[in-house]
């Protein structure tokens, strides 16, 4: 009952948001004082040359027309051209997305694998040692700038202890990339049985993913703990105790089940944090992902990659949140029927 309609409504509701997103990125690209024609024409251009450039780029046309050209370009996958690499931004992106994806997934896995159990145990054994640790993480973890955590990790594990490789990309020098299947080196190496590449990929991935994972662990733990505490105090959990259900069933069945549903929404939030963290972590560890690409473009005042990056991340973010909503609707019987 209603699931199809629920999905349809949610999907339709995303369209205006996506429209708004392109409006903003359009404004960022074309309406702000940094004149793209000026940039493209170069510092030695004459006024005539600049005007000619503006005409070529359509900057002399009315704003709605410009927007329409921008939007139709974006829809065709045209994010402009990078002045640095001289290639279409989309092409540069696609080449770098797997690196970012690998880092993001690994970090999310770490954050969730540690954050959820930590939050649950903290709530169940309230005021116990784990709870105190989780609260320390909750307050301290969110106050640490991600780039600084990364630098600390490099100093400690690479310089001091020597257990981590130098923070320079996805593979140690001299190791060949595994045959590309998914683009995720660790996965590809595993699938092709390439032990050398697998070891190197995981080793390189260790510090960046721990850094990024740590940066979102605090919010995950905090929310799981809060949700779990609220649920443990709820009437139906009291009723379950009064019905004589065993503790295990109550805590890890009834309560956890109810707790994990709102935690699904956390994936969206976590992803937002991860995208932000990605940028700085990729810089600290010279990780060749799209965040790194965007920042490198900053230094050369190359606008297209940055704005393309912002748009790309926003669209992915919107789609992830949509997916989260849909999954939530499927899992929680209460949502669908509203």
């Amino acid at each position: 009952m209603g699931l199809g309609r629920y999905v349809a409504t949610r999907v339709l509701l995303v369209l205006p948001t996506l429209f708004g997103v392109t409006l903003i990125t359009f404004a960022l690209t074309y309406l702000l004082p940094g004149n793209p024609a000026l940039v493209k024409a170069g510092p030695l251009a004459t006024p005539e040359h600049i005007r000619e450039m503006e005409r070529q780029m359509g900057l002399d046309r009315p704003v709605p027309v410009q927007y329409w050209r921008y939007l139709s370009g974006v829809l065709r996958g045209d994010f402009g051209e990078s002045a640095t690499t001289g290639r279409p931004v989309l092409q540069d992106f696609l080449q770098r997305v797997p690196a970012t994806l690998e880092l993001t997934l690994a970090s999310m896995l770490i954050a969730i694998a540690v954050g959820i159990p930590l939050g649950v145990v903290a709530a169940v054994r309230r005021d116990g040692p784990v709870d105190h640790a989780s609260r320390l993480l909750g307050v301290g973890g969110v106050a640490m700038p991600t780039f600084w955590t990364g630098l600390l990790a490099v100093y400690l594990f690479f310089y001091h202890l020597g257990v981590a490789p130098p923070p320079l990309g996805r593979l140690s020098p001299g190791v060949m990339a595994p045959t590309a299947l998914t683009g995720l080196y660790a996965v590809d190496a595993l699938l092709t049985g390439n032990a050398r590449a697998l070891g190197s990929a995981l080793h390189q991935l260790m510090l960046p993913s721990l850094t990024l994972g740590f940066s979102v662990m605090a919010p995950v733990t905090r929310m799981v703990r809060a949700t779990m505490l609220e649920i443990l105090e709820s009437d139906y959990i009291k009723a379950a105790w009064a019905a004589g259900l065993p503790r295990r069933t109550i805590v890890y069945g009834d309560a956890l089940r109810n707790c994990l549903i709102p935690v699904i929404t956390l994936v969206g939030v976590v992803f937002g944090f991860l995208m932000a963290g990605n940028v700085v972590v990729e810089i600290v560890f010279a990780w060749p992902g799209i965040g790194n690409y965007a920042v490198t473009s900053l230094l050369t005042k190359d606008a297209a990659p940055i704005q393309g990056f912002v748009l790309f991340v926003a669209v992915v973010y919107v789609l992830i949140n949509l997916t989260v909503d849909l999954v939530y609707g499927v899992v929680d019987p209460r949502i669908r029927l509203r």
């Binding site: 009291k238 379950a240 105790w241 009064a242 019905a243 004589g244 503790r247 019987p333 029927l337």
Partner: protein
């Protein structure tokens, strides 16, 4: 015969940053076999806490500070947790107020009942299911087959309460605690629910403790009534004498506050507010609201004394008046 439940000198305290809250202050209470006992008081009088204490479900910062609870002669407070768990739900069951929130939102209601059969009576899945449907029918739920698959949010408040009752009675408990079972329900639905409770109680021979703030409900349903005020038990009597001769000043005020159709007397709310239970002074906690207060009331808690058969009251003023003007 020995009462089914004997609560003696029970105290429950909550430790807060500001001090200790004496939510229940040394109460004595018996529940006899097969009877319906009304436990009455304003909100915050300790009724629900008393019920939770019987289940031994007072959680920190709360704690049972003293006294004993005997169920069928066994001292519940001394039982190991595992044994206590086997009593919960199986022999003592609870119907909660706000049934909608007392049902697990992500489990179909049928499954919530069925698992109790499996847990407490070791039924097979099929047998548990069969009995669940039977029970749902018994509590007056139409189309039990379909309703069993519903989630709590798909049922009306009255239906949810019927499910809660089915859950509570599923394992034929000998004692049923019903905490404000009709809160939030329409008057007519509330009446049906109460009738249902009484009928099922009679049929199974279970004792019922009906916790409520509404003396009107008590009058129509209960055999005996215990009145609580601010964590203290002030009066306990069979329902008839309580209404005919309420002895404690608080009970009198309560009785006066019942809306009456038969009299042209406007109802008067009980004057004053429930006193703070935080580091409460010794003595009777009604003293500050009481029109008949004596000096001694503020220093020493009055003991309970029998006023007639099945009628006990804890009040110096009442006692003094009775001694001064003996009957007959």
């Amino acid at each position: 015969m020995r009462p089914l439940l004997e609560v003696e000198n029970l105290s429950v305290a909550f430790d807060t940053d500001e001090g200790t809250v004496g939510a229940v202050d040394a109460i004595d209470l018996d529940v006899r076999r097969g009877e319906i006992l009304g436990l009455v008081g304003e909100s915050g009088s300790g009724k629900s806490v008393t019920a939770l204490a019987v289940f031994r479900l007072i959680r920190p910062p709360g704690r049972i500070a003293g006294g004993s609870i005997r169920f069928d002669g066994r001292d519940l407070l001394a039982l190991p947790e595992e044994e206590m768990r086997r009593i919960r739900g199986a022999q003592i069951a609870m119907v909660f107020q706000s049934p909608r929130t007392a049902l697990n939102p992500v489990l179909p209601v049928g499954r919530q009942i069925a698992r109790l059969y499996r847990l407490h009576q070791g039924c097979s899945a099929a047998e548990a299911r069969r009995r669940t449907l039977e029970m749902l029918g018994l509590v007056g739920i139409p189309e039990p087959e379909r309703r069993a698959r519903d989630y709590a949010h798909q049922l009306s408040g009255g239906m949810c309460q019927r499910v809660m009752i089915a859950m509570a009675l599923a394992t034929s408990p000998r004692l049923l605690l019903a905490d404000e079972p009709t809160t939030g329900l329409d008057v007519s639905i509330a009446a049906q629910i109460l009738d249902l409770l009484r009928d099922l109680g009679r049929r199974t021979g279970a004792s019922i403790v009906l916790i409520t703030h509404d003396l009107g409900v008590v009058a129509g349903l209960c055999d005996r009534v215990a009145v609580m005020h601010a964590g203290q038990l002030v009066e306990c009597a069979d329902v008839r004498s309580l209404f005919r001769e309420p002895a404690h000043p608080y009970t009198r005020a309560l009785v006066r506050s019942i809306p009456r159709v038969d009299r042209e007397v406007t109802m008067e709310p009980v004057p004053g507010v429930v006193p703070s239970l935080l580091d409460a002074p010794p003595g009777c906690r009604y003293a500050d609201r009481c029109p008949d207060v004596l000096d001694v009331c503020r220093t020493v808690k009055p003991a309970r004394s029998a006023r007639a058969r099945d009628h006990e009251v804890a009040c110096y003023a009442t006692e003094a008046a009775r001694v001064a003007a003996p009957r007959g």
